[in-house]
């Protein structure tokens, strides 16, 4: 019926939801997750209080720790914006991880190949990363809009393709031939040559000794502003949100559902690409095969926690940055494996996904939910 052959059923099968207003569901999910996490720690013979207090201490216990938490949060903000933006269009961008990798490859390549002053090089490299991420995500969006291919599976597949691609490029072959992007200076080490510029540190060393908090934070916050602006202040955002909420009404209003799906994925991929670039030039300074190993998946939890809003994503990213850095400290001082963090993340996502559970608790007075808004039609 419409000129781009998007089956309306296909779009409605993605999910579009508008949860209860307020932070109740995310907060409850976090609390429930922490409780279950504590049980696990107890059952395996350790002390939950110790674990959690070390976790907190590691995240916020000193100026340095706070600075490190924020450093960890920076790519999560951007990746979270990526996933959140796609959610707003009714799409599930599980492929943020793959988009980050592809963007990182492009960005790093620009970064170590060109010998230009940082002021020119860094924006150039960031743009390269943005284009890479956008292309990868845009492909998934195109396949969905054009051929009805479910973006969850295509993006998961792209994650693996990106992974193998980066391995190919960064690792030596079994015979010892270096990969095409691998540096020759340290044979066997799977990484690119160092980048020719880096983002400035924005916190003075008098405040935080050895602080690593770099200008990427500013970029991330600006990106969050852009996220909000696009979605809520432009006609494009208006259309994308309409497609995510009610594709039928959008089509009736003359909005091209398929085209806006592609655009939404392009933008989502751009955010993911920015996450890669900012991390490369801010903290890593070269691309190795252990680059941002879980950012794409953390981003899903961050977006869900943040209810797909800019301020929510920022807060969620800080929480997960706290988990990450605090978790490392928790492991070294309390001896509790930082894998606990992964468990907490999974539980949080579960409780947000199964929000009916939370509503059940609300119905029976265990927690209080503000007046629910009616859900949009989901087939």
């Amino acid at each position: 019926m419409s000129l781009v052959s998007v089956d309306e059923d296909t779009v409605q099968r993605g999910f579009s939801y508008e949860w209860a207003s307020g932070a109740i569901i995310p907060v409850t999910a976090v609390v429930l997750a922490l409780i279950i996490g504590a049980l696990i720690v107890r059952v395996s013979g350790s002390d939950p209080w110790n674990a959690y207090s070390q976790l907190f201490n590691g995240a916020f216990g000193s100026a340095y720790n706070i600075s490190e938490t924020l450093v960890a949060a920076i790519p999560l903000i951007l990746a979270g914006l990526s996933v959140a933006f796609a959610f707003r269009a009714g799409l599930f961008n599980i492929g943020a991880q793959g988009q980050i990798l592809i963007a990182a490859l492009l960005s790093a390549w620009v970064g170590y190949s060109l010998n230009l002053p940082g002021v020119i090089l860094i924006p150039l490299a960031l743009i390269a990363g943005i284009l890479g991420g956008a292309a990868a995500a845009g492909l998934a969006g195109l396949l969905k809009a054009w051929r009805g291919a479910h973006e969850v599976i295509t993006t998961i597949m792209m994650n693996y393709i990106a992974l193998y691609l980066s391995q190919y490029l960064l690792e030596s072959t079994p015979l010892g031939t270096p990969g095409p992007m691998q540096q020759h200076a340290q044979p066997g080490f799977p990484g690119t040559p160092p980048l020719n510029a880096s983002l400035p540190i924005i916190v003075p060393s008098s405040w935080v000794a050895n602080g690593r908090l770099h200008a990427g934070l500013i970029i991330a916050l600006v990106a969050a502003l852009l996220f909000w602006f696009i979605l809520w202040r432009t006609t494009l955002g208006y259309k994308i949100r309409a497609v995510g909420l009610n594709p039928k009404a959008a089509a009736y209003g003359g909005i091209n559902v398929g085209w806006n799906i592609v655009l939404a994925m392009l933008i989502a991929g751009a955010f993911a690409g920015l996450a890669a670039g900012v991390s490369l030039f801010g903290t890593e300074h070269q691309l190795t095969d252990t680059f941002l190993p879980t950012a794409g998946f953390d981003a899903i939890a961050v977006a869900l926690l943040g209810r797909n809003t800019a301020p929510g994503v920022i807060l969620g990213a800080i929480l997960f940055g706290a988990f990450e850095h605090g978790g490392a400290l928790m492991q070294s001082s309390a001896g509790i494996s930082s894998h606990l963090i992964e468990i907490l993340q999974g539980l949080i996502i579960f409780f947000i996904g199964a929000d009916a559970l939370v509503r059940y608790l609300a119905r029976h007075g265990v927690i209080h939910l503000p007046r629910l808004q009616r859900k949009e039609a989901v087939a």
């Binding site: 696990i40 291919a149 894998h339 606990l340 468990i343 539980l347 996502i349 996904g353 929000d355």
Partner: protein
């Protein structure tokens, strides 16, 4: 022709190890793929198979050590996989939650939990050594594995013998299960009803069929099969447990489901293809010639193929019509 030989392609292809390895890899993929077919046929997408396999790996090793019995480990894996699937089914069917979000969550929890327990139970060095029970006395505290069978005399046939008759018992079990799954889905009453539920749950409901119960059944079966795959991976293939040792097998299995057009035999065929890709990658690590340099890229082939399949370039495959959609009887028809 010369190029074929010099590049190392030919020597790779005629190597019986390659094909034996293909069947081995495809066993790992086919078991959850069969489960995925059954679950999706009933209308539930089980993204969490990856996590269920991984959990199966862990528990099978754990039980194998403590019960000093490999079969017990396998059974534990099957049971735990089924239990996890029950959680997924509860969230998907009863709570009508988004199946993908919940599936992703379960994968994360499984990953974190198994890695966490790996350290908590066995310390920094991870799981202890393994030992094949038939090869002499096994010390307590070692993992009892499931060694390959050598089918009487048949494995002595050059080439073919090694490929088909020198395999793990679970491989033969898998073949049986493929056939059973096909019979189950297409020749039994329950299978008919499951398929109906996945296509048009309301129609099945009005015909008096219990949609919820069937979906639970299908999902739990997929969990059990995934658990079995985990036990296989840990006890028969690698002999130990490592963090995140599945590295995407569950997702490839999902891709095989789609590639195989939601039939057991089709999915099995797809896993052969994907298994070949994986085996090729391993083999290429040891082959000489320029082909080796591209081994990593070749490993990405199965994933590219999946996207191609999804985009419908290999013919339109249609999922069960109600796949992934929670069923709510109260919604207006």
């Amino acid at each position: 022709m010369n190029w074929l030989i010099n590049s190392g392609v030919w020597t790779t292809l005629i190597n019986a190890d390659l094909w034996q390895s293909t069947l081995r890899e495809s066993t790992l993929l086919a078991l959850p793929a069969i489960g995925g077919v059954i679950a999706e046929r009933s209308g539930v997408v089980n993204i969490a198979m990856e996590g269920m396999i991984l959990t199966g790996c862990f528990i099978s090793v754990f039980i194998s050590i403590h019960a000093h019995n490999a079969a017990a480990g396998l059974l534990a894996a099957i049971a735990l996989g089924g239990a996890m699937a029950a959680v997924l089914a509860f969230a998907a069917v009863r709570l009508k939650a988004n199946q993908i979000i919940v599936g992703v969550a379960i994968n994360l929890v499984a990953l974190g939990l198994t890695s966490y327990l790996n350290v908590a139970v066995w310390g920094q060095n991870g799981a202890p050594a393994s030992c094949a029970p038939s090869g002499g006395a096994c010390k307590s505290g070692q993992i009892l594995t499931i060694p390959d069978w050598s089918v009487w005399q048949l494995n002595k046939i050059p080439g073919v013998g090694q490929i088909f008759f020198q395999q793990n018992p679970i491989f033969y079990l898998m073949l049986l299960l493929v056939v059973l799954a096909h019979v189950f889905l297409f020749r039994t009453k329950i299978g008919l009803r499951i398929r109906a539920v996945g296509e048009h749950p309301r129609a099945a409901d009005t015909a008096g069929i219990n949609v919820q119960a069937l979906r639970y059944l299908a999902v739990i079966l997929s969990g059990m099969l995934s658990g079995l795959a985990g036990g296989y991976l840990a006890l028969a293939v690698s002999g130990t447990f490592n963090d995140n040792m599945t590295s995407g097998a569950g997702f490839i299995a999902l891709a095989a489901v789609i590639f195989g057009k939601w039939t057991p035999f089709g999915a099995f065929g797809a896993t052969l293809l994907f298994g070949f890709g994986l085996a090729l990658w391993h083999t290429l690590q040891n082959t000489t010639g320029p082909v080796q340099d591209y081994s990593t890229l070749i490993a990405a082939l199965p994933y590219v193929l999946t996207i191609v399949a999804l985009a419908g370039f290999v013919g339109r495959a249609t999922a069960p019509a109600a796949d992934g959609i929670p069923y709510d009887p109260a919604e207006a028809a």
